[in-house]
Symmetry: C2
Subunit: 441 residues, 2 copies
């Protein structure tokens, strides 16, 4: 028979079991934290009507969509979890309780140009809170408080949640009569780490911005310090613009609430240069960085939006949300070696039961059943192979214990339990073995 | 702004949060059992090269595929988890340990004709064991032993795992010189419950099968009883056909091992009428029924195949696997009311913290943080609404406790804890509240 080469599409992540176990651990941790904060699970279809999914999209997004026809139906694959949320909340409005807090952790699809670190299929782990007409500013602090808990439990090193408020940005640029140029200005500012202050100034002036205003912009984005210091400096700018001052007041409330949420000051910092999606966010915005690996970029971003569902319904539903791009994050952490675990933690299975002479499975099954009934994930090696081959299997899968069974063990109702990491082996009763394995779980 | 009607494609299941919680519980239970038996997680891409995914497919399957072009690439959505497994094992052969035991619980896609109970996007929860060249017959018993454990823990009522062996069927029909007609014969036999014995006999004879042979077929499929009785009757047919007798011997071994796996006899039964996918399975085959709801059909099916990967590699990799179609099962169970749970179990969140007069969040946050740190999933109601509205929110989400905070509670470092199901309310310390909530978790 002619063979087809077994391969996957470029830009798709597929893991070996050892890595999949690590990935799932991260996934489970995020999910557990989301649930601990009262978020409800959601699982929307991956395929939707193009008309519905692309109600808002345009430009770059639309080009990346996987879109096709099946019969007469124009179908698209979801490219994020926010648009399906908007559709869901509009459609199920009468069945939901508000504020509606939901998490969704599923795959999304973007046919991006191929480049390192970019995936065409990837997990987003989203939480959003959707209010009915209004949504209290305290939620702008709850979201980063949850993210703080997530990254603390993921245990992947120091991190900082950067916070800004679009009203501060919008108000500031309005006060300079530069509202129409915000997009270009922010894009220019974004390059400051790469090209330096002087080059940014020149580029700003190329946008027909006066030298005076260019200087003011550079001064503005140079405001750094502790959260309190930044807030004071912002106030001292004495800008008389309603939006600007609303933004300051919101930033102030959010940082105060964050303290009440017990989030340490070292883990969140006002940063006036972050803006996020310009046509979307209207208030608080977030980015998150690993302190030692700023080159990874933001590993968790989001913000507040005025009206989630304007393309689908007349109801005004403001919300706030954040997203972890888990596939990309996982791949980055793996690349920099942050996922190297102790061998003891690499296996879900905690013990492999095997016999020496492949004579009789019944005692093996008795042992395995006893292990499983006491909550120990247990594998059994049934194939007629050498003891060495069986040991190699346990080794390769990082299974921490093997329970070896021979004639003597069957006779004495015992097992020889070997710790695969210390090499220690002893002949003990099934109950003692259960105790020993559980102590090491 | 013109609105787009928010709706989803027909044939796609999307749940309200209360149902999603139930769905996830079932999903988590299945996953936990699979892991307890030593299966490794896998998560393959939903999109694959059409050439790879359709290496084997044809006929009905191919028509149902969601297939499209992106640029020059011919892409298909996976329609099951077995073909991706075959591709994966071929591609990663050198990185895997055999027997390779994997579970995958993800969505698959079939653009089927619309009909009740059929989904175009649905979860399959698969386990497979893949051997290298050989795979011991004991795995044919381990698979139903796992399924037994799954359905016991899912707790959805009495069930029976039906077991047959394709070699028994193939050998039997070969002994009648009817090998070429097996497909048609089995399709006819399948109607026996609907149209009765006599009508089946007439249809068999229409297939150019002699009356004598038709009678033998009817006698054969009428063999029922306990597993031992069926095995005895099969032997007493005295059919001299190697395949047939191999099949009997395998069936015998599997039923014996199942006893060793502690699976009660009432939960598995040899059934000579089940055959499953005819071009695929070669040995043991399974179906599973709910005893009280046979009309649901098989809720979990699978079997042994000679060579998983023949389309991709020269290695001979026999395997055995089984699949639970969770989306369909969930929908069926919901329809017949088998998913109605105690109200106490309908919420992941165990307590809602709320204040009476929306004055100060800091004490609320302190309480919520204490709850969460002790492992209690906790929601907080921050919106400025009436106490009645807040209670309604807790009620609608079936949250079992509310922690009410007013001036007195803040002053005395206490909370008023209300049990939403008994109506009982008492003012106690945070520690006492934690104890009370956890006792009811």
């Amino acid at each position: 028979m002619e063979k087809v080469e077994p391969k996957i599409l470029p830009g798709f992540m597929e893991l070996l079991p050892q890595d999949q176990i690590k990935f799932n651990k991260m996934y489970d941790t995020i999910r557990r934290v989301y649930e601990k904060f009262g978020f409800l699970p959601l699982d929307t279809p991956i395929l939707e009507y193009s008309e519905v999914l692309l109600a808002k999209a345009g430009g770059e997004t639309e080009k990346q969509i996987y879109r096709f026809k099946k019969g007469d139906t124009d179908i698209s694959m979801r490219f994020d979890l926010t648009v399906p949320l908007a559709r869901y909340v509009s459609q199920r409005y009468n069945d939901l309780s508000f504020p509606f807090k939901r998490y969704q952790m599923n795959k999304v699809y973007r046919g991006e140009k191929q480049q390192k670190g970019r995936y065409r299929e990837f997990y987003q782990c989203d939480i959003d809170v959707i209010g009915n007409e209004t949504l209290d500013i305290v939620y702008d602090a709850e979201i980063p408080a949850i993210i703080y808990q997530v990254f603390k439990e993921l245990n992947i090193g120091e991190f900082i949640i950067k916070i800004n408020n679009r009203k501060v940005l919008n108000g500031f640029f309005a006060s300079l009569n530069l509202s129409s140029k915000i997009t270009d200005i922010l894009r220019t500012i974004d390059k400051i780490d790469k090209i330096g202050k002087e080059a940014v100034k020149l580029e700003l002036m190329k946008l027909d911005i006066s030298e005076d205003n260019s200087n003011k912009i550079l001064e503005f984005i140079a405001i750094t310090g502790s959260n309190d210091e930044i807030l004071k400096k912002l106030v001292s700018l004495n800008i008389e613009n309603k939006t600007f001052n609303e933004g300051i007041s919101e930033l102030k409330q959010v940082t105060e609430y964050l303290k009440a949420f017990n989030v340490p000051e070292e883990n969140f910092n006002i940063n006036l240069t972050i803006a996020r999606g310009l046509d979307y966010y209207t208030g608080t915005v977030y980015e998150t960085n690993l302190v030692k690996y700023p080159e990874l970029g933001s590993i968790c971003s989001g913000g507040r939006y005025e009206n989630l569902t304007e393309y689908y319904t007349k109801q005004k539903l403001p919300g706030i949300g954040i997203s972890i791009g888990l596939t990309r994050l996982f791949s980055q952490l793996k690349d920099i070696g942050l996922l190297d675990e102790e061998d003891e933690n690499k296996s879900i299975t905690k013990v492999l039961v095997m016999d020496i002479d492949n004579k009789d499975f019944s005692y093996m099954l008795k042992v395995a059943t006893a292990f499983r009934e006491s909550g120990i994930p247990t594998d059994v090696f049934y194939e007629n192979k050498s003891l060495k081959a069986k040991m190699k299997y346990a080794n390769k899968l990082y299974i921490p214990f093997v329970a070896i069974i021979g004639e003597d063990e069957v006779k004495n109702n015992s097992i020889s339990l070997k710790n695969m990491f210390t090499g220690e082996q002893k002949t003990i009763s099934i109950e003692e073995a259960i105790k020993e394995i559980k102590e090491n779980m």
